[in-house]
Each structure stands twice: as structure tokens, then as C-alpha cells.
Amino acid sequence: MSAFDRRSLLLGGATLLGGGALLSSCPKDPEPGAPATKDAGGGDDGDGDGQMSLDDVMPTLVAVCERLVPSDDLGPGVKEAGIDTYLRKALADPRMKAIKSMTQRGAVWVARAAKKEHGKWFVELDDAAKDALITRLVKGEVKPKGFTPLAFVRVLLALSLEAFLGDPRHGGNKDQVGWKFVGGITWSGRQG
């Protein structure tokens, strides 16, 4: 679906997973100004090590999502909702091919950036350091090649919110933990 900055087909449609996000990492159609990349995990950063599998990048993706919708004093976050299961299922969907490619590329960059800066992988950082790196991505203070940092964060944010507030049939929102957080309404017509 496209970005809904107007009343469009679906009033309740996707805002962050818009057409731009769906296409933004298509190898044939890179972001304006970005060099073409030869594979999802690569880029022209000189130390490309070829294609990274989803399994390779999953811990990093999960770690980022767990900071975007964290478990904290307000209540559970995507961790309790089952973000790992959700992401694996969502990114296996052929319709999400471009999203998967983009998130893989972003995760590789994030993992390497953490290693370079702190000598530790992203998943090993403390929350404050993780948040600091995410903040730099959001603010565009870093210039990774082959993907737009803000778009990467926003796509993961959209996926995190899907995992938190979507129908549990997709593998997230375990025990309706997200729906309970927002007031206990069972949103799925199937269930209520």
C-alpha cells in the first residue's frame, strides 16, 4: 500500500510500509544517489562479505525492534509479543521480499557499526548504547550506503508495531499482549 497522506483506498491502511519502503531496497531501483549494490548484505564499504542470511541478521533485527518497542515500566514490548517469530514469518512472505532485503542490509550495517565503534556487536551493547546508535540512524547522522537509515528504522518500527498489535495468527502479539496494553480490546473479528 502507498503512504496514506490523503484519504486513500484504505482509511486504516499502512503508513510506514508504503510503496516507497516496499521498493526502496530493490537492487534494480536504488535510492536516488545510492550506488547499486551487488547483494543484500554488501554495499561498497570495502569489507563486504557477501550475502548474509536472515538467520545471520535476525539477532540484530530483533535487538533493534526490542529497543523500538521496549519492555519497560509501562508494560511488555515486542519481546513478550514474540518479535523473533513474527519477523521470521513476516519476512518469509514473498510480498515482503524488498523489505527483507532492506532490513538485512540495514542490520549488517548496524552490527558492523557497533563493532567498529564499541568493539562489540550491536546485540551485546547496553540499552543506552543501542539507543544512541538508533538515534543517529533516525537523525540521519550516519550515511550508510545502499539504504536510507531513517527508512530502515521506520520499516522496523512498522514491523514491530505489527508484531505488537497485529492479529496473533501471524506469530506476534502473543497472548494478545499488545491488545491488552492498549485497553484489552480483541480487534480480530474472527475472535470477537
Binding site: M1, R7, G19, L22, R95, R154, E162, D167
Partner: protein
Amino acid sequence: MASWDVIVIGSGAGGAPVAERLAAAGMNVLVLERGKRFTKAQFEDRDEIEWCRRDRFVPSILTDPHTRRADEAAKAMPTTDGWISSILGGGTIHMSGFFLRARPEDTKLGSRLKEQGTTGHSAVDWAVPFDDIARYYPTVEDEMGVSGIAGGKLAPLAEHPMANRAEATAKKLGLPIERTPRAILTAARPDDDRAACAYRLVCASYGCPNDARGSMLVTYLRRGEKSGKVTVWTEALVTKLEKAGPDRVSGVRVKRLDNGGVEETVTAGVVVLACGAIESARLLLLSGEGFNPGGNVGKNLWFSLYVDVNAWFPKATMPEVMTGSPFIHRSLMVGGALKADEQKTLGLDRAGMLDLLWQHDNPIHRAERLAIEGGGTLWGRALKERIKQHFTEGRSMLCEGFGESIPHAGAYVDLDPATKDQHGLPVARLTYAHHPRDRKVAEHLAKTGLAILKDMGGQNAFVRVGIGETLILQGGTTRFGDEAKDSVTSPAGLVHGLKNLYVTDGGVLPSSMTAPGTLTIVANALRVAAGIVKQAGAARP
């Protein structure tokens, strides 16, 4: 090779009524729909991810995009903009069902702009007299089941208590206000196997599991199929219109997507094109010579002008906001009329209408909006705090504006020379920019919307969309007119120069009207159908 009396391409508001009427007149009708058929049981589902976020209604941007650019200098980028809905029943399956009548002034845009001295447009007065279409309004309202019409047969939908507050505000601000007529049943219709509205938590964007919403699937298509004279092929993509001679079509090439993409030719005495303004124009352009009279196919594109103002209504001061009917169900300034002093100040004779509704209750959608409202990106604890507060401490109300938008040379559809769909066919390219007058209309609607929401007690009121387009309310690309020099179809709906190819979707309507135009599309489709039946009767020995 199969042969039919009539082929109708597209099963939405422009196609289904024609199919039903021609079948009722004894013709064998084949409806070709590129999307799938969904059942009532499937519409029980309220899975936001699957229905609203994964191309359920609209083809994938990866396989069947449109492209869009602001002007000829810009690169056209892939988009889903301009698709209405690829599903049996079209956009009526998940519409809000705001069924407002057009006004006579809506059909006089050309002369109104001339009177105002507005230039740089391609607007014309409608070649079909308003009354010729309007006389079908009561029939459509009755057959589809429109509730909330003053003095109508169906009682209005239950209203949210905030409707009273809206009434008080309108009175105070001197704005006309009325119930929004909705194509939603408030009483069951057992003969049509339709139940009354059950006031589900979310409505628009999903199919109706009660068949209360008057979609084409449960009205004209259901009656047509019941008659035994309407046959529906779903997942049937028409790739080309075929000609029998200089002034007649013989039928269509159709790709059976449900059968491995096998292509076949289907012939018919009459072909009716109703794929929506963009896809109908595309099919005409794909069909080659003789299908683009005057070179006007795709020109004069309009989308209904859209404005969106939001405000927050906290339960602390207004406990009623958390309960009651999902529908506020009020429209203001219907008909678009402006007060005399406003006309003078704004330099406009009319603007558009506003309606009030709660923000869509899809939870992921709501949370996403909170994350990016104001242009930033909220995440972490701050986002969770905002989500919690937003879902439990009050509600966001929308004041939506629908306005006239002005057709001009910079708004059109053509075939993209660089992008093809998964079937190897060039996709529709949208070139679209607003006419300067649109901005004045939008500014007035936004300003008035802000005043309304603030007076109703809304907090943090802001203009979310200052000027936009309702992309599913589209038209103009095959507009009707008396001559091929500035139109594509005749007042009877025939493509100029052809004796048996009709167009009946929103594309034939030359301008956008001051209210959502679905009712008018259906009424016009019935008008054209009556003409076809008459023509067939006259041709019989």
C-alpha cells in the same frame, strides 16, 4: 470461442449495475473481473495485517504498479496510487459508503469557471443534463439501501453522542449540517439475504460480514447472478479490446489468471468498459488504433480534492467519546455553497463539504500515525507512552474535506514507456498536479475544519493533510461530451466513433463534484444501461 450478448469489464460501481440491468432485459451478460471473489465468511475477518497492509485489495507495487509524477520533467515512480480495488465488487466492497447526491452546479464547472475568470483549466459543462442522471438517484438509493436520507425509507444509523455536539457547533458557526447518507442497511432485507448493520468496531477498509453495506457484490451482482443471465469470471484480466470493423468492437482478449494465464478471445455484441478512470483509460490505450478518439483518452484526469484535519477529544472532559456508535455521521456544507462574503474574500463560488468521523480504529495504523505525527519519528518508551495514552485516554476525530478539483493540461493518464506489469503490458502513468484554484478550496476547507473541531472541544487540532487527493474517487479520463475534439464518449456512453463500446465508470464524469461521487457513478451507469436496452429494443425486428 465463447460469445455473449454483452461483456462488462469491471465489477464495481460502474459495471455491476449495467450487468444487472442488461440481464434483466434478457441479455446474456459476462462480467470480467481481474480480482478474486471473497465470501461473507471471509469478511468476518478483521486481520489488519492481511486486509489492510498486504495488497489484499490492490495489486502489488512489485508486480502491477502504476507510476506517478508531478509533472513531465519529473521521473515517474512506481506507486499503488490510482488502483481502486481489484476484487469482485470493486471499491464498493470496503467503501465508507458516503452516498451524497451531486448538485446541478457540479455539472456546470466550465461555465462557472468562465464566469469567475479562472484560467488554465480544461473543465467543461457536462454534456449530459444533470436531471438525466439525478432521476436515477432514488432508484439507486432504494436498490442499494441507503440509510439516513431525510424522509427516506431506511432509518438512519445509530449515531455517536458527539453528533449532538457537531450540531451545536454547526449552528454556532452558521454552517449547514446534515446526516450523512450511507449505503448501509439499518433494517434487514431477507429477499436479498442482507442483514442490518451490526456496528462492528471497524467498518471501512474491510468487507461487510453482514452484507449490510450495499456493495455491488450483495446488490446488483447478486441479483444479476440470481437471474441466471449474469456469468462472472473472476481473475480474468482483459488485455485488449478487439475490433470487428472500423466502428465496432468484436470482443476482448482475456487472460485467465486462475487458469495459468491462458489467453482467449471472447466475443460479444456489446462491450461495456468499467475498470475505473485509470484502468479503463489504460485498456483503451493498450488496444491501439481506433480506441483513442481525438487523442483525448486519459486527459482531464481528476481526483476528488482531499483535506484532513484532526483533533484530540479526551475522555477526562468528554467521557462519552469512548462509547457509542462508531458513526458520528454528520456532513457539513454539503453542496459546497459559500456565503456571499466568503465568495468575495476567497474568489470562489463554491468549495466542498466536510464530514466528521473517528480516526480509523485499526490499531497498527493508529500506532504508526502516532509514531510519525508531526514529521518526526517517535520510538521507544516515548512511543509506548503515547500509544497507551492515545488508546485509553480519548479519541482522535477527523474532519475530512471533499472538494472540487479542476481538470487541466497537467493532469492525465498515459502508458508508461518504461514500466511494464508482470504480464508485460505497459502500466498506467499518472501525471498529476493541482490547479491553483484547488489550493484556495483546500485552504478554506482546512480552516473551516479546524474551527469546527476546536469549537466541538477538540484539543491539539492540526491540519494533517492540507491538500491531497482521494485517489479512489477518480474520473475525467473518458469524459462524455458532444464531440470527439474535447471528449472520449458520447452522452449515451459510447466511445466516439464506435457503435457498441460503452464506458460507465467514473472516467466519463467530466468533473469531480463537491461530494464523493460513487452514487453518481451508479446512477449514470443505470442511465447508460437504460439507453442500451432501448437501443437493443429498437434494433429488434
